[in-house]
Symmetry: D2
Subunit: 334 residues, 4 copies
């Protein structure tokens, strides 16, 4: 059975397993070890500037800690109605910042536009009775597999700055977005006004380490306190730091994303007009009747039913390209 359920289902890549074994020795606890000490420099190279980089174990933690640095309990976070922070994190952002509200925006493909965001802000009276926007959060690649270009991100950054909002990027699939857009990590983030990035590694071949990147480095000290307070400061942080370093080293993170995106493109071509959204990363949303889906599954593939008449396929860094080719044939034959 070939599974296209989720990139969370995939194994960790060899570089990660090796790095963990290599880090398996006595060192200082928490983030006092030699691997953790190298994170700022390693991510600084990726982003062509000084950054503060913290390991955490989940994207939910990264998002919630990052957003809590920018939004008080009395504020609101602007995000898309289909954002992961709204739909799939059980209210974690509100737990971390003391009850802040998510102010939901519409837009095709889970993408936010400056005009829609501005419209939402304009409807808020600037008084104590209404919750005032404090931050903007977008996801790149989005929950529907679309990407924001550097220019689109910068336009949102301009909006955020004009409104005095913090700007957070949920990059659970940031690697896929970098590969897909061809833009530099810097252009997709701080040069476009992003203050905080949740930089995903787990869906891209990591085991259990994500990175929380502060371009506004003044926020990092408080973030470290909240990481501890939320129970996310692991005793043996070296095993997380080592994973991140291993995936940055030699650009494993880009190679992995390239593989996943390529597999998705093979399937996208086969799906053609069945696609609900353009395929710009490693997720496909494909129109299929229940009978069609059953026919494909009967050939040894599995995936989620997403909505009536629609399935979701996610490709991973280690997708068997032969299986992908066969699935493409199966889809094309519908």
């Amino acid at each position: 059975m070939n599974r296209f359920f989720s990139d969370n289902a995939a194994a960790a890549c060899p570089a990660v397993i090796e790095a963990i074994a290599a880090a398996n020795r006595l060192d200082s606890a928490y983030d006092g070890d030699q691997w953790s000490a190298r994170l700022n420099a390693a991510f600084g190279q990726v982003f062509e500037r000084e950054v503060e980089a913290l390991w955490v174990t989940t994207g939910t933690a990264a998002n919630s800690i990052g957003l809590a640095m920018m939004c008080p309990p009395t504020g609101a976070i602007l995000c898309h109605r289909d954002a992961h922070i709204e739909n799939d994190e059980a209210g974690a952002p509100a737990m971390y910042n003391g009850g802040a509200k998510l102010m939901l925006l519409d837009g095709p493909g889970a993408k936010v536009s400056p005009a829609v965001a501005e419209g939402a802000c304009a409807r808020i009276r600037p008084d104590v009775h209404q919750i005032q926007p404090a931050a903007l959060s977008i996801t790149n690649a989005t929950e529907y597999g679309l990407t924001y270009s550097a220019e689109e991100t910068a336009a949102l950054g301009d909006f955020a700055k004009a409104r005095g909002l913090g700007f957070h990027l949920d990059g659970a699939r940031f690697a896929n977005a970098v590969v897909s857009t061809g833009a530099s990590p810097a252009d997709l983030t701080w040069r476009a006004g992003v203050d905080v990035l949740s930089f995903g590694f787990v869906k891209n071949g990591g085991m259990n380490a994500e990175a929380l990147i502060f371009f506004d480095t003044a926020l990092a000290d408080k973030a470290k306190v909240l990481r501890k307070r939320s129970g996310h400061l692991l005793s043996k942080g070296r095993y997380l730091a080592a994973q991140l370093l291993a995936m940055l080293d030699g650009n494993v993170w880009l190679d992995n994303a390239r593989s996943a995106n390529a597999a998705a493109q093979v399937l996208a071509e086969a799906a053609g007009t069945r696609l609900v959204h353009p395929v710009e990363a490693n997720e496909l949303f494909v129109r299929m009747t229940p009978a069609e889906a059953a026919a494909v599954r009967a050939q040894g593939f599995d995936f989620y039913d997403w909505a009536p008449g629609e399935v979701r396929l996610v490709t991973s860094w280690d997708q068997d390209m032969d299986a992908v080719a066969k699935l493409a044939v199966a889809i094309g034959a519908l």
Copy 2:
């Protein structure tokens, strides 16, 4: 340099590394995998009854999630003044349950007695102006390396039941307590009235997996929601579950604790009357002048200064017994 700083500094044991490698394959995300599915049964064997067992990555998360199941925002958790939840978790319990108070108790060696706990409760007026106790939390082995016997635990359990309090056991070094007391895991927990156990593995040779055990299994469903909401539901939970299973298998957890405790006993004998507390687990608090401490360090050992004229030594599962012997000589020679 031989380091006796902390059992958090030690490496993960071979069984853990092997288990992680063996689990490195595609499976369902979150806790839907085959390893996570086996946790309840595996811990059920250890405790001789049905339990609900959840993996988390830190003791702070285990403690905070467990306590939040027993104490509302308006309640208080009774604990020792030197408890880890009071001193070393940055207020995590209050973050998780919405602001509950820790009501601090005194007692030698960080141990709580029913009489002291009852005295604290008796001072609270049962009205809306005062925070009412809702839970009792103890640590076994304690922060000063002492243990509670099964009988002592049961006496506290009786107190908790009489007062209608939930009973939580912080078992960051539960393995060391089991080995030291010779009592069964069941006798040290649910048979003594414990509702929730934070069962530590990381200090005992694990990498980044702890277990949160519910004997009151009705609490587990809400705990799973809070685990997610707090960002502690890892995408690839299989790597945590596999660690726990590997350490339970063949009683690695007991062997590791036995090693650490044995090393501590060697040092305890050497320290003799210098000991501040009896040594019942793997921690030693030893009176040394700064000059004496310097003399020991000069022979290649390192450890924390704990208080003026007092140092702390912690032994680990993988302590080099030759080094321990040499350190014992060094201490004995002071």
Copy 3:
């Protein structure tokens, strides 16, 4: 200048002022006084059953305390997108229950229907990743001056019970709804499945006392704790209790609402097809161009601009009916 801004702008009615003066004597503090002691019985008569009645000073406090009894931090409260708890309480419900989410529903006139509410629930996956609905909150009369009949309320009550949701009624203008629908207080609340009612008095001629009514009386003890914890247990509660008793006595509350509703009806007839919503209580939303609004204002009346081309008029218990008649003429003449 005759002002139709808000029923919050009106004075307190004579019965309230007299009651406060009469209560101005030494008595027990907090809610231990003789007036507070009579609240349950007095409201029990209104609702034809046993209730627990707590005074608070604001509708925001009543709503937030009431909702916190029904929705955990990890849950969601279903309400209309235009509900006061969403738009005008600065996130108070989330502060009181530890960060719960408001799940927003659409519907004309700020009214919620069972079908829309059920649709929202049906879109939620019953897993730990998504916030699960825990309570339904409606406002009667609504923020746009419409009312729910007893039958409409009961249909929502049936939905709530079927989904296992608590049912809260924001009755900031409950008196206006009772007068308008002709239904009994019981039929508009507990007989229709309502568990908790925020029973407004301030907009209806009170000074600073609102009532929080628990039909599910088991919730009241915890509510009293939260009232204290949120700083809403006044030291001299007698002055609040006395207000409530005075307005219940002789049905002042109904008389006051009848006056306000009658004034609104006079204006509604004059406004005719300019009305944006049916006028069923004491609020009118009237289409007027800026020039028209200026013309009316020039005749000595004032009111809020609500939206482009739309103004809001609110009538109070003490509205000068001559002024109302003149305003009706002014509107009719547009």
Copy 4:
């Protein structure tokens, strides 16, 4: 029966009742009315400088809002073990600021000294594992009826500044302290380094209005948001503002406190060596055996049993001096 239970039990003074009646007219809602608009100036005169003054209805709300402006969820508030915020506010400070800790200090008469406070701070490691102090809160007059002089307050202010802590003064009985010490309101507050004052009126003859005074006026805007979010922005704020203005006008607040303090002094002289604490305000703690207390009560007086062999007497602004004289005789005769 003459009651000496609590100054909360007393009636409101005539100036307050008259002011409420005079304010009973249509005006803008919330704090947009003419009375609220005069608060800053009126309190500015009292304190000889610019201040931001907010009305609230309880001391608990004043304390909690004020402290939340100075202490983040991750911080600690230093206060005396017997402080009202620790013992009698049901954890409100933690609810308001998201779970901050109260760090308890010892000291006779519920008074805090710089040395004790500094000792508590010095025991905190400046790392992410421990909660860092963020604010100091003292009560003047204290919960045991002692006062801080201007010099004592200034010494604590120096400590707070040196440690970078906010400085909050719980002035539930601030008027009694001003009268007792003879110091100016300015000298007891901002000139001594106080940032925020909870200025009590209710125990001193008010009905239900307290003042929250910001000397650090930059904090007031956020405080107004939290006042709303916590449900403490009353719809008809004019009735609170009018009370405060009435008690400032002609120094009613000082006259009332003078009366209460004078009554306490009469009793203090009678109690002599039976006093547990010096009597510097309007509270007395008097050693009496149960038989003695019964004998006094038999003569028509009532009061709280405070501890075994100890009773508490509180005098009010409107204490009948004949009754006080008789009680003094009764105590003297024991």
